[in-house]
């Protein structure tokens, strides 16, 4: 039968997760060692910054669980600390259900994020290379990839952006397309503007210019971000040449007015300007958004979009789980045992009814799906 043992960001703080994180360089060896444990037949290790999970096909669940815990205690030199680790475990259909939710991004810290899908793929590929998988886990993971794709394509779980930085990047891409030709200017070297600028750079923005009342701070931030600094007196002139402006000064009143931007726009020869105002009090007069070809977003507008996306993703969970359920039904898996509405959250997360599923060979969804 199938078994899943693990910890994640909901059940263990980073101090615990880092103790159990498998180094890439040792993963092959660890998989081979686990496969040799008593009761274990196949193993895949999913080790990311937010979770460490071991998926196994086992012939003796009790014995396998015990030997796996012993192995982890020994491998990570946990000693007595192992008793304080809040492992969850799922078996049979519940393990398949859990993996499908993980691959679909429903168990992630940022609901619906897509990176986890690649991480599950990588974990499976690594296990294959190490000889950790055979028929049952091969089939389970192939199904997980199918379900993950289906959930993303048939629901809105990935729609919108859930953080201010990613909303800003999305908006920039809806204005300029690829950001590779875009120049970004930061006015006011605060932490939020640094993060937003970094998000834009990570998505390909060409270069970054920093301007701050304290020029030394501007130089420092520009160096950190691989850009250049301009004197605070010169930022208005620089605005003619950049595509995206991020403002977060500590000025008590607005510093960017419609008349000023209108003058700038005349010199920009039809190029759009995206202004992200994350200062409170705001740096940019709202009337600037009325100007043609200028798109102004303040902190509230960005946060509203991010929270709407988060709420929308929350609303999609039921639909996503219905897709997973339907896949399990179509493959004759859930007929064998009921799946609870939500994943368990307390200590010892084994599902009620798991034993019913796992004890007989007929109950193994992968063998008989």
């Amino acid at each position: 039968m199938l078994l899943c043992l693990g910890i994640n960001h909901k059940t263990a703080p980073v101090e615990v997760r880092e103790k159990l994180a498998f180094a890439d360089s040792h993963l092959h060896e660890a998989i081979r060692e686990m496969r040799r444990l008593e009761g274990m037949e196949e193993t895949v290790v999913l080790s990311t910054c937010n979770r460490v999970e071991i998926y196994s096909a086992v012939n003796d669940p009790e014995r396998a669980m015990e030997s796996l815990r012993e192995y982890l205690t020994r491998h990570f030199d946990l000693g007595d600390f192992a008793q304080h680790i809040d492992f969850y475990h799922h078996s049979g259909v519940a393990a398949a259900w859990h993996l499908f939710r993980v691959a679909s991004g429903l168990d992630s810290m940022v609901l619906g994020e897509t990176e986890i899908f690649g991480q599950v793929k990588k974990a499976y590929a690594t296990a294959q290379e190490a000889g950790g998988t055979a028929r049952r886990l091969n089939k389970l993971f192939q199904q997980a990839f199918q379900v993950g794709k289906l959930v993303r394509s048939s629901t809105r779980i990935t729609h919108g952006s859930t953080s201010i930085g990613s909303v800003a990047v999305d908006l920039a891409e809806k204005i300029f397309g690829e950001l590779s030709g875009c120049q970004v200017m930061i006015v006011g070297a605060g932490e939020m503007s640094r993060r937003t600028g970094t998000s834009l750079l990570s998505r390909g923005a060409k270069s970054i210019i920093v301007s701050n009342r304290s020029h030394d701070r501007a130089v420092e931030l520009a160096e950190e971000m691989g850009g250049k600094a301009v004197r605070f007196d010169d930022w208005e002139e620089t605005m003619i040449h950049v595509d995206i402006v991020i403002t977060s000064t500590a000025a008590p009143h607005s510093i960017i007015h419609p008349a000023m931007v209108e003058t700038v726009m005349k010199k920009r020869r039809g190029r759009s300007l995206f202004i992200i105002d994350i200062a409170v009090p705001r740096d940019v007069e709202p009337a600037v958004n009325e100007l043609e070809n200028v798109y102004l977003y303040d902190i509230d507008a960005l946060e509203t979009m991010a929270s709407e996306a988060r709420e929308e993703r929350e609303r999609q969970i039921t639909l996503c789980e219905a897709v997973i359920q339907s896949h399990l039904d179509e493959n004759g898996i859930t007929a064998l045992a009921p799946i609870p509405d939500r994943p368990p959250t307390g200590k010892d997360r084994s599902r009620p009814g798991n034993d019913l599923v796992g004890d007989s060979p007929e109950a193994d969804p992968i063998t008989h799906s």
Binding site: R156, H159, L171, K174, S272, E292, N293, Y295
Partner: protein, 258 residues
């Protein structure tokens, strides 16, 4: 199957393609799909059959009456969408094109039903310049029509960006910079085709200008002016997009005057 039935089926395909896309957009799940593309391809193939039948009837390019002109224009729009839509990364252009083609063909169908079968207009002697003029001019109108649709997409996307409350369309529409580039390219392609149409009309009429050719020259000049205005960066992209939408009235007026 007779020609009006084929035309009705083709018209239904475009209505279906549009409805399919609208439903997908409303649920926020619109992605370029084979199903949607398949409906558009089916509509296009039926258009080809309709035009083939009419072409065989007249023994020439089937643009001898208003329904034929409307269907040929719709065919040009879909053909150019297939050729350019993906190249310009504008898969959603089909969503905007389908209702226009549906409208053109619905009018053609109503006219056919009201008027009855149009008589064949066989030419005693085929004039290559006449054929070329009509076909190339209508293709150019197809390009201007697509530019108008891209302009409409720009205006919708601009409104969503300004409102700070983007709807479902926001995530499916292309970036406004791509739309601006697409409008300019489509207008450029339309201008080149229309130039060919005007030259062939001039040659067709024994090197004399008729009022019909005169109006084509006016349309050419309007679009050339619009493109020049854009490339000289005299106006904002929003005005350029709006102008591309409004300017499409000119080809429609010319077709109405035929």
């Amino acid at each position: 199957m007779n020609t009006p039935v084929l035309l009705a089926l083709s018209t239904l395909c475009f209505l279906g393609g549009f409805s399919f896309a609208v439903v997908a957009l409303r649920t926020g799940l619109h992605r370029p799909s084979w199903a949607n593309l398949g409906i558009m391809i089916a509509g296009f193939l039926l258009q080809c059959l309709v035009l083939r039948d009419w072409g065989a009837l007249h023994g020439r390019c089937p643009i001898t009456n208003v329904p034929e002109v409307l269907v040929f224009l719709g065919w040009s729009l879909v053909l150019l969408y297939f050729i350019l839509g993906r190249a310009f990364r504008l898969s959603l252009l089909g969503v905007f094109t389908a209702p226009l083609v549906f409208l053109l063909q619905a009018v053609a169908l109503v006219l056919l039903l009201a008027h009855g079968p149009y008589p064949p207009e066989k030419l005693v002697q085929t004039d290559i310049w006449h054929e070329l003029h009509a076909a190339v001019s209508l293709l150019s109108f197809g390009a201007f029509g697509l530019a108008a649709m891209a302009g409409l997409m720009y205006l919708v996307q601009d409104r969503q960006l300004k409102s700070h409350h983007p709807g479902q369309l926001f995530y499916s529409l292309p970036p406004i910079r791509y739309l601006t580039d697409a409008i300019a390219r489509l207008l450029g392609i339309g201008l080149i085709l229309l130039s060919g149409g005007i030259v062939s009309a001039y040659l067709m009429n024994a090197r004399t200008f008729t009022p019909h050719v005169g109006l084509s020259v006016v349309i050419w000049a309007a679009y050339a002016g619009l493109l020049t205005w854009h490339f000289l960066r005299r106006g904002s992209p929003k005005r350029f997009a709006g102008a591309a939408v409004i300017a499409f009235l000119l080809p429609l007026v010319q077709l109405a005057l035929l």
